[in-house]
């Protein structure tokens, strides 16, 4: 496997089953150590040993029967002993390639390569795990193939014996200071902080009652909240965005390191979020939506059901700079809705606005948590014009711009009825023109 760029069939790294076992592995080494040091009798542990043996065997077998190769423009993975599975992933449809290194994998110097495809189920090709020094060249090669380069041409550079993992120059655009990240997470989840402080004070004042309340569901709830914050922190620690030859490179993470490449032509929507308490500080979070969901169980838990965070916390100027990079032709002027929207959404109407250029729609919404959303028109799936009873009374209507992404939908909320009709017609035409243009990937 160390002989140059991949040609034939390859196996994964021999330590893969160990790493894949994750916590299970750790749990099982403890009895083994206990036995080794003689503090437990062997006969007592026979049952546990048998389980460990079976699992270890299963791991080895699954490693033996799994192999992969690059065939022309496809990545093929074959796996399974009894239920043989042959998966073929056309590289031209790759949406993004991630390199993920969980804590245990870092210990063994291996990494997982994840190819995200469009599609809702089974849309991810995983190579878990590949030796660390081979991952980056392999990713570059796959990306080059995905760009449509010829196979042999792409294989000549980036030999896997290269000491430096990233020979090409990367221009760092943004990174996140740890202190600011902590502050931002706490500020966004300020109610959580309030609850925690309340609990601590409560424990100090009357430990008995609070303790009793905590013992039940409260403890579970508190724990899940803590894991939520921790997950976010773990994922976004020292997240760095840099400009690479094939798109924006993202890398970061505290225990599980991830490295991702976002190809500009694959972005379905861009979202700038400004939570209430961030706004006095001028901070924002920038997220991009990419087709290809991660809903399988084995997926890294840090990324489930979330948009891709480009900048966890940064200044608005920085956010805008990156938006410009992703969508150069973003609309500069947003227009507010008519004043009578006040009667329908008294709180929201100040935050609502929309604008469009020839290729991008932008909308804003949210009084407390302000969200600005940009959708490139060539990525729109369908347009919907909706008018509810209250809206009709006020001669208003909304236009929804549906994208293939998960949650970033642009909505032109509460516009004047004639304007909405006009917008629907305009956007339909513009989207058609945008689709016809040869895609720049």
């Amino acid at each position: 496997m160390s002989s140059g760029p991949p040609e034939g069939w390859h196996r994964l790294h021999p330590l893969s089953p160990v790493v894949r076992g994750g916590r299970l592995t750790i749990a099982f080494t403890i009895p083994l150590i206990l036995i080794a040091f003689g503090s437990e009798k062997l006969s007592n542990e026979a049952f546990q040993l048998a389980i460990i043996g079976v699992l270890a065997l299963a791991g080895v077998v699954s490693w033996l029967v799994t192999r992969w190769r690059i065939e022309d423009d496809d990545l093929r993975i074959e796996t399974g002993l009894l239920r043989r599975q042959s998966l073929r992933f056309p590289l031209a449809q790759v949406q993004a390639i991630d390199v993920v290194r969980p804590g245990l994998a870092r210990m063994f110097r291996v990494a997982e390569l994840r190819l995200r495809m469009a599609g809702s189920s089974g849309g991810t090709a995983r190579l878990a795990y590949v030796a660390e020094h081979e991952v980056e060249p392999l990713r570059d090669q796959l990306l080059a193939l995905a760009r449509g380069a010829r196979h042999d041409e792409a294989a000549t550079p980036a030999p896997s014996t290269d000491e430096k993992p990233e020979p090409q120059a990367e221009h760092v655009l943004a990174t996140v200071p740890t202190g600011r990240l902590v502050a931002s997470v706490l500020l966004e989840n300020w109610w959580l902080v309030v609850v925690l402080v309340g609990l601590i004070v409560g424990l100090a004042v009357s430990p008995h009652t609070v303790g009793r309340a905590l013992r039940g569901a409260g403890l579970v709830w508190a724990l899940s909240m803590v894991t939520f914050v921790w997950r976010r922190f773990n994922q976004q620690y020292r997240l760095t965005v840099s400009d690479g030859p094939d798109g924006l490179h993202l890398r970061g993470g505290l225990i599980a390191l991830t490295a991702e490449v976002i190809r500009p032509g694959r972005v379905q929507a861009v979202r700038l979020v400004e939570p209430l308490l961030w706004r006095p500080l001028g901070w924002c979070r920038l997220e991009v939506d990419i087709a290809g969901r991660q809903r399988r169980k084995g997926e890294g838990e840090a990324q489930r059901g979330q948009l891709h965070v480009l900048v966890p916390v940064g200044t608005r100027a920085l956010g805008m700079e990156l938006v410009d990079r992703l969508l150069p032709d973003r609309p500069r002027e947003l227009s507010p809705p008519p004043r009578r929207v006040f009667w329908k959404s008294p709180f929201r109407y100040r935050a609502l606005s929309w604008g469009r250029s020839d290729t991008v729609v932008a909308t804003t919404s949210g009084r407390l948590r302000r969200v600005t959303c940009w959708v490139p028109l060539e990525k729109t799936q369908s347009l919907r014009h909706v008018q509810g009873p209250v809206q009709r009374r006020l001669r208003l209507a909304s236009v929804h711009v549906d994208t293939a992404g998960r949650s970033a939908h642009a909505t032109l909320r509460d516009r004047d009825a004639t304007e909405a009709k006009q917008a629907l017609a305009d956007l339909t035409d513009l989207a058609r023109v945008a689709r016809r243009r040869p895609a720049v990937t």
């Binding site: 369908s382 008018q387 939908h409």
Partner: protein, 140 residues
């Protein structure tokens, strides 16, 4: 014909209540029966209006689907964006020779459903859309 989808359960309830009323002779059951009758009549009218609001139009590059009275919705689905097309027919629909055509795009929010089509029309629409979709297919 769609009216029957609302009308049938209303009639059943009505008949059941009338029988119950006749058996027990209680005023309450008769009262409920009258209530059901009124509700059925109102529903009849609403369904009629809703039926009238359903509509679709095949344009050169996209399909328009309109629906709803209270919440008026108009969807524009470009042919090139269609991922697949469903034709379904429930038991009641089948007994009247009807079918529902549903369009799916890569966006989950797309809501383009055309119910109550004659079966031949549904088949024609499905084939036509599939053909157009193939001709204009665009990647993600």
């Amino acid at each position: 014909m769609r009216r029957l989808e609302v009308g049938a359960p209303a009639l059943l309830v009505l008949a059941g209540l009338a029988v119950a009323g006749a058996l027990t002779g209680s005023a309450a059951a008769y009262g409920f029966a009258v209530g059901a009758l009124v509700a059925g009549a109102i529903a009849w009218g609403i369904v009629g209006r809703r039926f009238g609001s359903w509509g679709y139009a095949e344009r050169e590059d996209d399909l328009l689907v309109r629906r709803g009275v209270m919440f008026a919705r108009l969807s524009v689905v470009p042919y090139g964006r269609m991922q697949f097309i469903d034709v379904t027919a429930g038991p009641l629909e089948r007994s009247f020779g009807l079918a529902t055509v549903r369009l799916h795009t890569a966006a989950a929010a797309t809501d383009a459903r055309i119910p109550g089509l004659e079966r031949e029309e549904a088949a024609r629409l499905r084939d036509r859309l599939a053909e157009l979709g193939e001709a204009q297919a665009a990647g993600l």
